[in-house]
Symmetry: D2
Subunit: 367 residues, 4 copies
């Protein structure tokens, strides 16, 4: 199999250094869907690179039907941005804008576009729509007033992603169990990855890569369906949250690479049959995903374990306030308001009032 | 005149310190509109405090008809957040969220609310609507899952602001000339402040205090007008950009305090007649306000002067690239794409590709 | 037992908030040595607060012979300083100066001082020397040109510490096993804490609290000995490194509180006999404590386990470089240069060239 | 004249990008002293790059006797490190260590070295000593345990600087007038640069480049003199503080390039006679250079103008405390304790207690 490496320039630092991405392309036989996988758009979320490493090593032993493009280290500016002993890679250090909220929200009037192209057959329609999305990204970047640092990066990535049928964006949580963001139209995808918990998300753009990739196609499918045409959603886009940030674990990365391979097998990207890991899998709707914020400031003992179901009233956090010793308020147990599964918690053990301490799936169901 | 001071708690730091705001209330005779003025929601934008200081000293010599509440130092967490020799006060250092994008976007269905209250007379309608807005803020803060640090602050401020008829939010730019954000429905306000340039903004919520204060009232006026009732927009909300950040200038603060006083005089908040400073004033629609981003990285000489009109093709920036000495690209002049007035520029003299270098008013008109 | 709480002001934030320390004093019967314990001088090193909490709860059940002063949350500015999801609390965010390098280096000429006071009996000599050290701290703070933010804090803490015979400074490493900094003159202390590894440090001032507390006394003992007087070192000062930063673990804190109690029992601060935890304990001289720096940049899998002995040539780190996939340099094993015990490693999983990856004890010996 | 460009690698970022320095070498006829000039070791201090740019353009028109090496953008990691709208380039963002305190403090026993080499003639002695200094830098970098990120950079720069007879390090202050750090042995140098104020510094190593370059040579000269040999200090090293940080001003840079040229002319590096700018020049001993720290927190109006003499008791700063309005402490004038010239002040207009507000030369004398 031929692996091709390309460097794509996505930015330039003040002292003149070019920022470029390594893009690895595994070429398939052209009979399966094409795939785009990126990792590390948030600078501290490094484990996706290890998963791409293990996946590339695995792929050398499989027969590829579709092309696979892999972009590790997808945000060099974010990865390189340290503040103290940690990576401050979640947002642009100048503007505060989350790197995963900079993707282009296509302003295309899809209903009008469909009306103008409805005479095309399915394949031509899909090809024309894809061309339109890529062209919109290119227009965004080619602008006499310029674009922001984050838009340079995100729109460049997005233009690559729009060329593929399957888009996987590899992230992690702060201190987190593995979970998956999956659009509601593709529930079965949640059965293949080595991931126990899945959030099902609606057709709504909030700025992230997965939404940037699927929202136009989902909308197109809806518009076509409203005209009686069963086009289906032609692009799959999922975000994998591969545990905790600031962690490289090569053995665990192999486990997740095998899960991705199972999904690619199911989708016909590789010729071989690869089965998913047997595990219990659970789902939650995005509207039932809750954030628990610190009602008071203090030192935090995280009692709730990520990935383990809890009951309403169970202790989620012990909050320690040494300035209040002797008042009876030096140690407070904060309790979970509803039954749920803590999915991730904050990374630091001391918090201001209002810090998001936990994200919790409620109304969890078996898949 | 009685000045009353109140401390309003808006947060708590990890080590236990309470964050509170000083609120100064000047009580009027109850015959004029009430006023709310805050400053320093962005931590580095300190000059508004000096303006409030000068305004309070001035107010001691005037007859107040309406009540005036003044909140300097409105974001203690942002003010105290240093990073190197500057204040990193534009966004929450944990999440990156801009402190001026955390105000509550009322989810109230105003058309339905109007239908349910249309039998009320104007004064009762206004009072009921105000009560509803304040109650929504209180509900937001009283939530079993909690709210973010920024929402604690912003919603607390907003609940105070909703109690007044006039809301002034004092900000600055990075390196900036003075300018005003003014809703389109109140163009004449732009004639009173000691500020030469005004941006006229539409009825759209982007997260800022001025919008949080006027959008519901503007929408209510539109709904009422659609029912044939000329209620008018009952709340004025403006953002004053008082020059550059990281600057305290007491003499200039007096100048701006006098401009505010002229506006308050015009609005009947004080009994005395105070005339605005004579100056040429100019306007621009928000849609014509442009951001110019660095097409390349490098060292920056800011050639365009803020507040001074330029022609398309004039040199805005000299970009120096010492790594390219001898290639002919070591010094590049970046030119203004359209006629306009540079209003502000970036604070640092070295930039990554994509940094917002200037904001420029185009299609400027005299007021 | 009477516990007294005092608030000591150590700073003031830009927006006006006072920064104060809670100081808890447990009064003894005056027959044992006095003790000063502080925690959390580095903002992310929070576990010492939990240890102080558990220790205070334990102390309520013991008979105190000496006074004990406890200062949790000893650096409120550092604790409150977040940058992204972690606490940037190791250095002053404005100057970069390590908070634990700001203590006063006494400029006293101890030989001359001894010559001038040698006629005093031991107790009087000790009392006079203590008075001199405290006075020097007070002079430092009372200075027409002022002192830095860090000196305000450190010198205030130091003046309190100089009043005691035993000084314990509670820290943690980044990702760390427990270890102790112990001056060479008091080797037996290492047998009492719940800590397996001890670094023995010489009579040299590097800016830290333990050194600030013991160096003058050690020097005084040496000067006296040179004059044939066996004064002994009258002050003990140790730094306890209680595992990893950004962690509160109340059960483990109890374990360390019991170790401190065993040391206090041995020193006669409490009347009861408390035995140390049985464990193998090891030592290393400071000169044999090595820092291993990243020879190249990349993603890091930390293979060496903290607290577990390794041989020269064992793999310490896997360094992953996805930009080099296919070159043979995508995965490099970095090896330990000498036999040793990794004591701590860096907190982030991606590093620039030169980042300190591990600290390693070499030439380790059993205690 | 031949200008040669070389790229010197000094680091590597986490995502794999190499950090390299552009080194420009102008070759002289070998009859004059050699020169090394660097700029921008602190990331925000960019103006030195503009001065190097102007100097390189000037040099093309002069006859060079000695070689000149120019290193603009000398700290790419520091230059690229943004935090908010400013460059956080004064210290390593991970460790807090000031980039200008990482140079190698030679541990060479110079008295012993001189004893072992005293039979050499002056030129051979100088050459051997230079070789020894360079070798020590190389040994530092070639170390099985590695060196820190800052040591990689600083020691690489230092090894280059040790090859030259004249070392100029171009810095700026925060908000600053121009001033020069000049070793006491070379007072006449202060007459040539376009700089009014000079600090004369002793033979003491504090970590900076100028000291790293001259301390060994000064010590060697002293050792030789003690043996009755008038070797003189063979290396000149000066630090130029070229006004304020975060500023590029090409016209002013030309002014400073001409001052450097005057010094190079005086030293015989160029054949042509270039006269210094006529200006009054003043000096101050380093021991009389004072730091004024904020005795209280608050908003700061900087009243003292940099470069303008003041009397004891003159107002240096107005400190505004809006939380104290009405108490009589809302506005405090802070006064200069001694006659002096404010040389620089802090960059931010709000400060914590203890922030260094001003540096002031006292006991200033005319040169």
């Amino acid at each position: 199999m031929r692996v091709e490496k390309q460097e794509v320039k996505v930015g330039e630092l003040a002292a003149g250094q070019a920022l470029s991405l390594p893009v690895y392309r595994f070429h398939g036989k052209g009979k399966g869907p094409s795939v785009y996988i990126q990792a590390n758009v948030h600078g501290a979320e490094v484990q996706g690179n290890a998963v791409i490493y293990q996946l590339m090593k695995l792929l050398e032993h499989y027969e590829l039907l579709g092309d696979i493009s892999l972009v590790p280290l997808a945000n060099p500016l974010g990865i390189n941005q340290k503040s103290g002993e940690f990576t401050l890679g979640r947002f642009d250090p100048i503007t505060g804008v989350n790197w995963n909220r900079e993707y282009l929200n296509h302003s295309l009037d899809i209903a009008a576009w469909y009306a103008a192209h409805s005479e095309l057959d399915d394949d031509s329609l899909v090809a024309a729509f894809r061309t339109e999305l890529i062209a919109a990204c290119e227009r965004k970047l080619d602008n006499v007033w310029g674009v922001t640092t984050g838009q340079w990066l995100a729109t460049s990535l997005q233009a690559m992603a729009h060329r593929s049928d399957i888009v996987l964006d590899l992230h992690t949580g702060p201190k987190s169990c593995k979970h998956l963001y999956c659009p509601e139209y593709e529930r079965e995808a949640a059965q293949y990855f080595s991931i126990p918990y899945t959030l099902f998300i609606p057709n709504s753009f909030g700025g992230a890569m997965d939404e940037a990739a699927f929202v136009p196609w989902w909308t197109l499918a809806e518009v076509a369906a409203a005209h009686g045409r069963e086009l289906g959603v032609r692009v799959s886009a999922l975000t994998l949250e591969l545990g905790s940030q600031e962690r490289i674990d090569l053995a665990d990365a192999l486990n997740d690479a095998e899960g991705i391979l199972a999904y690619l097998s199911y989708r016909g990207v590789i010729a071989e049959k690869v089965l998913p890991k047997p595990m219990k899998r659970f789902g939650c709707l995005l509207k039932d995903y809750r954030k628990f914020h610190a009602p008071k400031a203090g030192m935090v003992e995280y009692v709730g374990k990520v990935g383990q179901p809890m009951k309403a009233g169970d202790v989620l956090v012990n909050l320690l306030r040494l300035d209040l010793y002797g008042t009876g308020e030096e140690l407070t147990a904060l309790k979970l308001p509803e039954d749920g599964v803590p999915i991730l918690h904050f990374a630091s053990a001391s918090v201001h009032q209002g810090t998001e301490l936990y994200k919790v799936m409620t109304k969890v169901f078996a898949l």
